[in-house]
């Protein structure tokens, strides 16, 4: 097992400390709110990166898991008025159930089936939310969730701690024997199979892990917004997450989290552009595909710290 380099640990601690202290300098609930969303995107992006970045099976419907976690929280907290803390574990469980539903039939296969099926499944679930509006609230979604914590700053710290745990756990997994196998699957699936590795098993379990963290992020998001609505399932959410991972450097996990935070902040600053925001995103993606195929954050960090390793 490869150790995480001390410089990476130092960098991580520095970033987390900086993020934790950031709202203290400018004591405004607005900034705390924006940062909470940034950090939640970080959870989504790093969870996408774990499965798709390592195995190379691109998931075009991560919003399916995000939405599943969020709607679970919505139903539990608002409609069945359950204790909000139950949402988190159950959001994870439901998201994992969805990952099995889509992953089991599609991940056995090579080729683009998984990508297509995920994209379709998230689009269809969004439609179903609108069609069965009596239960899901339709366009409006579900309102009136209970917050997990009264103080938004405490909630931000809580979410930040979860992001840190997510990134550490996924990085350790990615650097373990397990992660090595996933990378091997990306390299050559047939050879792995020939070497007696149960390729399908590893792919499905890594999707379950990825979905679980995404569902957790979804539930956290729902308890921050205190409402859930169908756009959570939209392709736009999935593509936003994928762009973040691309900017971060695919397969690096920490890069995805940092890029997610930076890009969400950037989006917030671009709020004035309104409708053009997604355009800017799409353009970023195209430029990165053509000019920075390895991403920005992770390669930059590696170059900066090269001498210290």
């Amino acid at each position: 097992m490869k150790r995480i380099a001390p410089i990476d640990i130092a960098g991580g601690i520095l970033v987390v400390a900086f993020l934790a202290l950031l709202p203290m300098f400018a004591a405004s609930n607005y900034l705390t709110g924006v940062l909470t969303v940034c950090v939640i995107y970080g959870i989504w992006a790093s969870s996408w990166d774990f499965m798709s970045g390592l195995t190379g099976r691109e998931n075009f419907g991560h919003s399916l898991f995000i939405g599943a976690g969020a709607y679970t929280a919505g139903f539990l907290s608002s409609i069945w008025s359950a204790n909000p803390w139950i949402s988190l574990p159950l959001g994870v469980v439901i998201a994992i159930a969805f990952s099995l539903l889509v992953g089991f039939p599609t991940l056995r296969l090579r080729g683009p089936y998984f990508a297509l099926a995920m994209l379709s499944a998230s689009a269809i679930l969004q439609r179903l939310c609108l069609i069965f509006w009596e239960y899901t609230g339709g366009e409006e979604g579900i309102y009136g969730l209970d917050p997990l914590m009264k103080n938004p700053l405490h909630y931000y710290w809580f979410v930040l701690a979860i992001l840190a745990v997510t990134v550490i756990a996924l990085t350790l997994l990615a650097q373990s024997h397990w992660g090595l196998l996933l990378r091997a699957i990306r390299g050559d699936e047939a050879t792995c199979q020939a070497a007696g590795i149960n390729v399908t098993f590893y792919k499905i379990v890594s999707l379950m892990i990825s979905a679980g963290f995404a569902g957790l992020g979804g539930a956290l998001y729902a308890h921050y917004q205190l409402q859930v609505s169908p756009p959570l399932f939209s392709v736009v959410v999935s593509i936003t997450v994928i762009i973040m991972v691309y900017v971060g450097g695919i397969g690096s996990i920490y890069g995805a989290a940092v890029a997610a935070i930076l890009l969400t902040l950037l989006t917030e600053m671009l709020r004035g552009f309104g409708e053009y925001r997604l355009w800017i995103y799409t353009l970023t993606l195209m430029l990165i595909l053509f000019f920075l195929p390895n991403g920005l954050i992770a390669p930059l960090w590696r170059r900066l710290t090269e001498r210290l390793r």
Partner: protein, 284 residues
């Protein structure tokens, strides 16, 4: 009963026009085109702009709209997809980016409200006591003609033979002197053109709005998976199966449940016969 038969045929024809183009460009160029739905939307909007805003007569506007979108498809393939073709993931990403860009562009230019396109044929026809608008019937007839034409083109012409050759083995085809890249462009034009034609034909009786391309594209995925990726006859058969089962579900249960049909069809296909009805084993 007859109603199911006729309406099912109409939706099958539209699905087939969408799915055939999608499967063709995958089968020939191995491009999984996530922007396929935007061709459909662009076709409908082009028809809207030409007829409602510029006042071009319908029977000129329709072919013009198809040509414009086919041109867009060729440009997209040449400048955005081709440089990234070595990586399947990059192709998926760039086509998805194009589809989002198109959706946003339509949204910014036209807003999210529904747009109306005048009917090509105003008359209503009655077949065996079933009323059907001439427009739907036109979509059916046009769909059948296009598919027939495409089949003849691929089976009977030199260019068609070249397309088949490239789909079987691009490298060998290249050695035989077939200009593979030009074939890709031609296939992209056909693929974008048929999708646009479907969009033009449905524009009078379905809602024209920026996100209209997503769901038909999801349907096209479903059909192509059920029929077998890269197989044209397979996608036609699958279009018939899906078109009819959706119509039957709509009549017997409710229109709300039709969305589930394609999802169930995909899951069942992938579980039982992953290569699809007529797919190649290589799809495994």
């Amino acid at each position: 009963m007859l109603q199911i038969l006729i309406y099912g045929a109409v939706s099958s024809a539209i699905y087939a026009m969408l799915a055939v183009g999608f499967t063709l460009i995958f089968g020939v160029a191995r491009i999984l085109n996530l922007a396929h739905g935007s061709f459909y939307a662009l076709g409908a909007y082009a028809a809207y702009v030409l007829t409602s805003l510029l006042g071009v007569p319908l029977f000129i506007a329709a072919p013009l709209a198809v040509l414009i979108v086919a041109g867009f498809g060729v440009v997209m393939e040449r400048f955005l997809v081709r440089p990234l073709r070595s990586s399947q993931l990059a192709v998926l990403m760039i086509t998805l980016a194009v589809s989002l860009a198109v959706e946003q562009a339509l949204f910014i230019t036209f807003g999210s409200e529904y747009r109306n396109v005048p009917s090509f044929v105003a008359d209503k026809l009655s077949i065996g006591g079933v009323d059907i608008s001439g427009q739907r019937l036109l979509a059916l007839v046009a769909g059948v003609l296009v598919l027939l034409g495409l089949w003849l083109f691929i089976q009977r012409t030199r260019l068609g033979a070249a397309i088949l050759a490239v789909s079987q083995d691009p490298e060998a085809a290249q050695y035989m002197g077939i200009p593979t890249n030009r074939i890709f462009s031609i296939v992209m034009a056909i693929s974008a053109g048929t999708a646009a034609l479907a969009g033009v034909l449905v524009s009078p009786f379905l809602t024209v709005q920026p996100t209209m391309g997503l769901l038909p594209m999801v349907k096209a995925f479903a059909i192509v998976i059920v029929g077998g990726l890269g197989s044209i006859p397979g996608s036609i058969i699958a279009s018939l199966i899906l078109g009819y089962s959706e119509t039957i579900v709509a009549y017997l249960i409710s229109t709300s449940w039709t969305e589930l049909v394609s999802l169930v069809a995909v899951v069942v296909t992938l579980m039982i016969r992953p290569s699809g009805l007529l797919g190649r084993r290589a799809a495994f």
